[in-house]
């Protein structure tokens, strides 16, 4: 399969990006100043992320669409307000997760943002579930820019009038150079910020304008350290087809009505997890020293029994130390529980930790 490029590829190159292949795309992993610097810029100022590799799906329909979609997405799509966004997932028959996603109710129906690596499979799953009753478009002509950090709002307001009045996890249509753009106040960094859906034709103009206002470009490297500090899951690592949302500590993302009524794919497993058969849980893990425990590292109890494994681990620049998350047996999931991590054949002390590692500052 030929590797794809986003509409901003040449612009990234001119900004000094180092590229890596990611989910079939050639994506910037970092720019010249490095991951730690980019991370701190996002925490203290404003960073621009090209996330155009992610899927932007529009499903057109009315109330009957909400009913149909509820069969595969476990949130209350009947009650979701116009322009409201919700985090959710596509579940499978075994109660695992095909993908995690953000659904936004729009005038025409629902916008869904999907992971790049999953988007084509998601499209198939959703299409076959909806049986051609609704028009589904996986946009090829739209880019997606995330602007993240405490200065995002004041900077973006200078370019696109009115955005500062958006509330967290809400979106709306705005105008950039007279063209429609759809902006949500959301992100994947634990900071205030926006995701801007804009046509490929104008995305470079917008990107250049953001940079000229002092925004710095940020690559996938810092995106990973930021999201891990914020305790957010990375699909394919912290969650996958064999983790249930309850095991993944994402119970909050399933609407109360749906938890009680079910009526979606995989409910049997999710219901039994909710009713006491849960035996493992995703938790934060904080190594005591400087050692970094990465994906696959085994977790042991104080008395030396294997109790789980790490699913993501890195160095958190704002925490100024190593951070990780992983799954442990339920009776070891309480924050503060002492565990050990086996890295390169040696055991290292760690503790189960509250998530997030870094406190959020969202605008409610």
């Amino acid at each position: 399969m030929e590797i794809e490029k986003t509409a901003l590829y040449d612009y990234h190159k001119s900004l000094g990006a180092k590229f890596v292949p990611f989910a079939g795309y050639e994506m910037p992993v970092q720019y010249s100043s490095g991951i730690v610097d980019e991370h701190k810029i996002t925490r203290n100022g404003a960073g621009m992320f090209d996330v155009s590799h992610m899927g932007q799906l529009l499903i057109q329909g009315n109330e009957s669409l909400a009913t149909e979609l509820e069969k595969i997405i476990p949130i209350d799509l009947k009650k979701i307000q116009l322009n409201q966004s919700k985090y959710s997932f596509l579940t499978n028959e075994e109660g695992g997760i095909y993908d995690d996603l953000i659904v936004t109710k729009v005038e025409k129906g629902f916008n869904i943002i999907l992971n790049a690596a999953c988007k084509n499979n998601d499209f198939k799953i959703i299409s076959s579930s909806l049986k051609n009753k609704f028009k589904i478009t996986l946009h090829k002509n739209l880019s997606l820019i995330a602007l993240q950090g405490p200065k995002s709002s004041q900077i973006l307001e200078k370019i696109i009038n009115g955005i500062s009045s958006l509330k967290f996890m809400n979106g709306n249509k705005f105008y950039y150079k007279g063209k429609d753009v759809y902006i949500t106040r959301s992100g994947y960094t634990g900071e205030d910020g926006f995701e801007i859906s804009i046509s490929n034709e104008f995305v470079e103009d917008l990107a250049k304008e953001l940079i000229s206002q002092g925004v710095k470009p940020i690559g996938l490297g810092a995106r990973d350290t930021l999201r891990l500090e914020a305790g957010l899951c990375l699909y394919g690592h912290d969650i996958n087809e064999s983790t249930s949302p309850i095991e993944a500590n994402l119970k909050w993302a399933i609407s109360k009505r749906r938890r009680e009524e079910g009526g979606f794919v995989g409910y049997k497993k999710i219901k039994s997890d909710l009713n006491g058969s849960l035996n493992r849980l995703r938790v934060g893990i904080k190594p005591e020293g400087k050692i970094i425990a990465r994906e696959g590292v085994k977790i042991f109890s104080e008395d030396g029994k294997e109790i789980g494994s790490i699913t993501s681990g890195t160095f958190g620049p704002s925490v100024n130390g190593p951070i990780a998350m992983g799954y442990v047996k339920l009776n070891f999931s309480k924050p503060g529980t002492k565990v050990s991590l086996e890295v390169r054949g040696k055991k290292h002390e760690a503790k189960v930790s509250e998530l997030p590692f870094y406190k959020k500052s969202y605008v409610r």
Partner: protein, 126 residues
């Protein structure tokens, strides 16, 4: 101190008497990105040429550090363990990794000059 020599595994070596000081090259530090963790061998340990003698981790990944020289570890640079970021700031100076009592001086002949290493690094960027 001797002229600096370089290995294909991106280490540099300087010699004083029968002791070699070893670190990673500026090129290697740039390729790694921000170094956030360093693990060094224990003093007194005997290491073999091209054997693993430490670990450096960036935010992205962990990489082994090899020794280009066989011998006994006589000293290690604790300051880079305490401040891993110094490896990016001065990789071929203050941020040396370890010192080795050289067992076999002929191994030094297999190392490259700076000009040869620069050419090698250009052709083998990783």
């Amino acid at each position: 101190m001797s002229e600096k020599k370089y290995s294909k595994q991106h280490e540099w070596v300087t010699i004083e008497g029968d002791v070699a000081t070893i670190g990673i090259t500026t090129h290697a530090a740039e390729m790694l990105g921000d170094v956030v963790f360093v693990e060094l061998p224990e003093k007194g340990k005997n290491v073999e040429k091209e054997g693993q003698a430490g670990v450096v981790e960036s935010t992205k990944a962990a990489s082994d550090v090899y020794t280009p020289i066989t011998g006994e570890i006589t000293d290690t640079n604790q300051s880079i363990v305490d401040d891993p970021g110094s490896v990016n700031k001065d990789p071929e100076g203050a941020a040396w990794f370890f010192k080795i009592k050289i067992k076999n001086k002929s191994e030094l002949d297999q190392l490259m000059s700076k000009a040869d290493y620069d050419k090698f690094a250009k052709e083998n960027p990783n």
